[in-house]
Structures are given as C-alpha cells and as structure tokens.
C-alpha cells in the first residue's frame, strides 16, 4: 500500500491576513514496509505533511495517492483510508475521553465497524502490544500515569490494525525510560508486525537508530533525502537549518577532520564505539 504525494502544497488560512504557507511542492513516496524518519525544525511542516497522508487535511494543490488511488477523488471512503493509515498525534494522551481504558481503545475499531464480539480481542491485543497490563482495562484513563496514558492512546490507534502507522513526535515530553519504551514499541511494530512506519521527530538520535530512510524538511520543503549515512554527511547543512547530526556521529566527523583514520558514517552508539575501539587498537 504505497503512499505517494505529488506536488503537494498547503496554506493555512488561505486568503486571510494570517495566511501561512506550510508546504511547498512536496513530492514523496513511502513504500510498503519502509521505516521512514521525517525530521525538521519546529515549524518546518512535518505535522502538516503527515496529516495529508490519511486525508485529515485537504491539499491546497497537489495529489495524494494510496495504492495508486487519489484519496480525494469521488467514491473514496476517507474512513477506510484512516483505518489503513493510522495516526498517532503529538501528545496523544490529550485526546483520551473514555470512561474506561477499554472504551477509549475500542473507539477506533468501533467506528470502523468491528463487531462488538471482536472488540474485546482487539483491545486486548492492542494493550498487549504497547505493554500495558490487561487489568487496567476497567480503570479510568485519567487516573493513569503520563507514560501509561500515552500508551493507552497509542493502543487506541493500534486497535484499528492499520497497515501504516504515522507517529508524530511520540516521545515528546516523556522521561528517558518512557522514551525507550515507545521507541522499542515502534521498532517492534516495524520488525515483527511488518508495519510501514513514518516517525516524525526533531531528535536525530531517536530517528537515526531506527529509520532506514530519512526525509529532512525545512521551510515547508523536502531538502534532503536518503539513508542516514548519506543525510548525516551533510552535517554543516543540517546545522544551518537548525538540526544537527547525532552526537556520536559528530565525534567521528571531528576525529576525521583532525586526521584520524575513522569512517564517520556511523550513527548509533554501538557502531561508533566499535569504530573508536578499532582506532585505539591501531594506535
């Protein structure tokens, strides 16, 4: 189910004094089973872009194709698109409303027409995926801790069993432990559940570790695209647009500049550690 956007432009409040151009002529394809990291400074248009992928925003100009079908053409059910392309918003815990965790997680599948008899299984599966105890099902979501609330909200999207999952800054505001849990959940969904993942973030460290392909945005446009190695070679450019490279990559780049024989194309702590150990052994 590839997602393709062509020449997408979007302007908020078009025709009003507060008009704000958020996307300019964006073309991008997301293939099945890919893990794409979408990065960019705050305000670069990441959230606006991903809200087009499931038809929450209608482009000012340009087209969105899912499975080759223009999603804004006649006869396309946006609801079924939203079932296929799940979307976890930033701070998703702020959208919780159910009296119980069960009711909240079941909201999505219920809207999608899943029969009542199946709902319980769906909810159990989703809660198990995010690592929440099933005993929480009858509790009020408002009594839970911050990290647990976020997991309930993510479960609410997973319960619709989308093939593609978009996560908009899912680790924002979490403590390091919560962050690791969410990131390993995302990795699990990609590797074990074979879902297509689009991870929006402005943290290089988060994205570099997981994504196979990075898409870098600035001022509403895609400015860089490629594997993490390729993208992180442009350290100076990334810094100029308010991003950077992972600290460990930066370390290798500095070492190389000073004449040490290292390969700077590494971006996880483990790989960099290996590279430095190799360097030390030659000295």
């Amino acid at each position: 189910m590839p997602i393709r956007v062509e020449n997408l432009s979007y302007t908020y409040n078009a025709g009003q004094p507060m008009e704000q151009e958020a996307l300019r002529n964006v073309t991008l394809t997301i293939e099945d089973g890919e893990f794409v990291g979408l990065i960019g400074h705050t305000g670069s248009g990441k959230s606006t872009l991903v809200q087009h992928f499931n038809g929450l925003l209608k482009p000012t100009s340009g087209k969105i194709y899912i499975d080759g079908v223009d999603i804004f053409s006649k006869g396309v059910s946006l609801r079924s698109i939203r079932q296929k392309v799940g979307m976890v918003f930033q701070y998703p815990e702020y959208q919780l409303f159910g009296e119980t965790v069960f009711e909240d997680v079941a909201f999505g599948p219920k809207n999608m027409g899943v029969p009542d008899a199946e709902l319980n299984d769906r909810v159990d599966q989703a809660l198990a995926l995010v690592g929440l105890d099933l005993s929480l099902k009858e509790r009020s979501p408002f009594e839970l801790s911050g990290g647990q609330k976020r997991k309930v909200a993510i479960a609410g999207v997973l319960a619709m069993q989308p093939q593609t999952l978009i996560l908009d800054e899912p680790t924002a505001g979490l403590d390091p432990k919560g962050r690791d849990e969410v990131l390993s959940l995302v990795a699990h969904l990609h590797q074990r559940e074979h879902k297509t993942i689009i991870l929006v973030s402005h943290s290089m460290e988060d994205v570099a570790r997981l994504a196979q392909r990075l898409v870098v945005m600035a001022h509403g446009e895609i400015v860089l695209e490629g594997t993490p190695e390729v993208v992180f070679r442009q350290a100076e450019y990334l810094e100029a647009i308010g991003l950077g490279v992972p600290q460990v990559t930066r370390l290798l780049q500095v070492l190389k500049k000073q004449g040490f024989a290292v390969d700077p194309d590494h971006y996880t702590i483990e790989a960099v550690e290996e590279e430095i150990v190799k360097l030390l052994e030659t000295m």
Partner: protein
C-alpha cells in the same frame, strides 16, 4: 472547523496604521458614538453617510475591505431573516403579492433600513476589534469603567477575566481542531446522523477539551500567584494608556460628524 475561521468579529489584525495607533478608549468611545448615530438616523442618506465614514476608517486602517466585509457572512442568516420579516409582516400599501405573502411599500423601506443598520453595526463594531489588540481593548475597558468602581463595579476583575477569556479563545479553537482531527483519525464522524447521534459524537471532543481547559486554568492560577498577583490594588502598569492630542482630535471629529449626520438626516 472552517466556520470558526470565518468569524472576523473579535479577530485582531495587527498593523501600524493611524487607526491601530489610537488609544483604545478613543476607539471604544467612537464606536459607541457611531452606534448611537445608527439609532438616530432615519433616512437612507444618513446610512450612506455612516457607511462613508466607515469606509474612510477602513481605508485609514489599511485592512483589506474584502476582509472587513467577510465579517457579515456568518450573520447572513439573521440579515435575510430580518429582511423577510419586515418585507412581509409590515402593514401598508401592497406592491407585490406572492400567494398569501404581501410585500408592502412600508415593509420594503423598513426592511432595507433595518438591514443597513444591522450591517453598519456589525462592521462598525468589528472595526474596533480588528484594529485593537485584545490586551489594549481590555485595558481601555478597565480604564473607562474605573469611575464606576465607587458604585461597586469590579473594573479590574472584569477586565482581567476578559483578558484571560480573550487570550484563551484562540488556544481553545486550536485545541478543538487538534482533538477533532485526532478523533477523526480514529474514524469519528461529526457530520452525519440525526441530531441525537451528532450530539453524542461530540462527547469525544468535549471531554478532552474540558479536561485541558481545567488543567490550563489550574496552571494559570499557579503561575499568576507565583508572580505575586493579588488583584488590582496598587498595581502599576507596563503599558500605560496615553490619550494624545491625536485622540482628542479623532474623538471630536467623530462626535461632530455623529451630531451633524444624526440630527440632520
């Protein structure tokens, strides 16, 4: 969602024009004078002169005329209703009969008058908010209400409440949109079904909205106390309102025009 964006009454369009720079008290008083004018005038010439006054002010404010006119759109229904009620419910000389509906000459005149009055009223008052930032507007109201404190009007508290409400309206609108989108991503539908169904579909929006409004109120109260807020007594101001000669001139001009037009037409 789209509807909320169309409401220009109460919106502020930042700018540097002469109208923007006037003291908010001048603009509030001038608006009241203009409204008084609308109730004094009884002829179309009078309304045309009123419209001309507004037009000059809009030009001076450098806000696009089209944008100002858009403020009428959400009230179109009321305008059309007023027009119809006057057209067909006024007794008098019948000039057109459609089935049992009788359009009278008197009704035609009364309807057009009422609608002119309504439209000028809407544009006049939206000009005030379009050119005055909410903060300055409440400062102005507080300052104008001060003389009435002696008779028990809590001027400062009212102004503070208004400031906070105005400050949070855009936040709440934004938040509503976000929550709506998040629930739509989960297949929620706010547009189809009967009234009962639709009311029920609002629950997933209203609950998160209330939860966050209460949280915000709490945080705001704590933040205000942390900065030593204890009401209006003895409080000094960062923005001091200044009534300049230009304000006096503007006010005298408006008052003069209102008296002239109001009592001659």
């Amino acid at each position: 969602m789209a509807m909320m964006k169309n409401i220009t009454i109460g919106q502020y369009v930042p700018g540097e024009s002469i109208v923007h720079q006037l003291d908010p008290r001048t603009k509030i008083l001038a608006t009241f004078l203009f409204i008084a004018l609308l109730f004094l005038v009884e002829t179309f010439t009078g309304y045309a002169l009123g419209a001309l006054m507004l037009f000059v002010i809009v030009l001076l404010s450098r806000i696009p005329v089209k944008f100002v006119l858009r403020g009428i759109r959400p009230l179109m229904f009321i305008i059309v209703l007023t027009l119809c009620l006057h057209f067909f419910m006024t007794e008098g000389r019948v000039i057109l009969q459609i089935w049992f509906l009788k359009l009278t000459y008197e009704g035609l005149i009364r309807g057009l008058m009422m609608v002119s009055r309504l439209i000028l009223l809407i544009i006049g008052s939206s000009l005030l908010t379009l050119t005055t930032s909410p903060i300055l507007l409440t400062d102005g109201i507080e300052s104008l209400l001060k003389p009435f404190r002696a008779v028990g009007v809590p001027a400062h508290e009212l102004a503070m409440m208004m400031t906070i409400a105005l400050r949070f309206i855009p936040t709440l609108v934004e938040e509503t949109e976000k929550i709506m989108k998040a629930q739509m991503a989960r297949g929620a539908d706010f547009e189809s079904g009967n009234i009962f169904h639709r009311a029920k579909s609002l629950i997933p929006i209203l609950i998160p909205l209330f939860v966050s409004a209460f949280r915000r109120a709490d945080e705001l109260a704590v933040a205000m106390e942390a900065r030593g807020y204890r009401g209006g007594e003895g409080r000094t101001r960062f923005r001091v309102l200044k009534f300049t000669r230009r304000d006096a001139a503007a006010l005298i001009l408006v008052a003069g025009l209102v008296i002239l037009v109001g009592f001659c037409f």
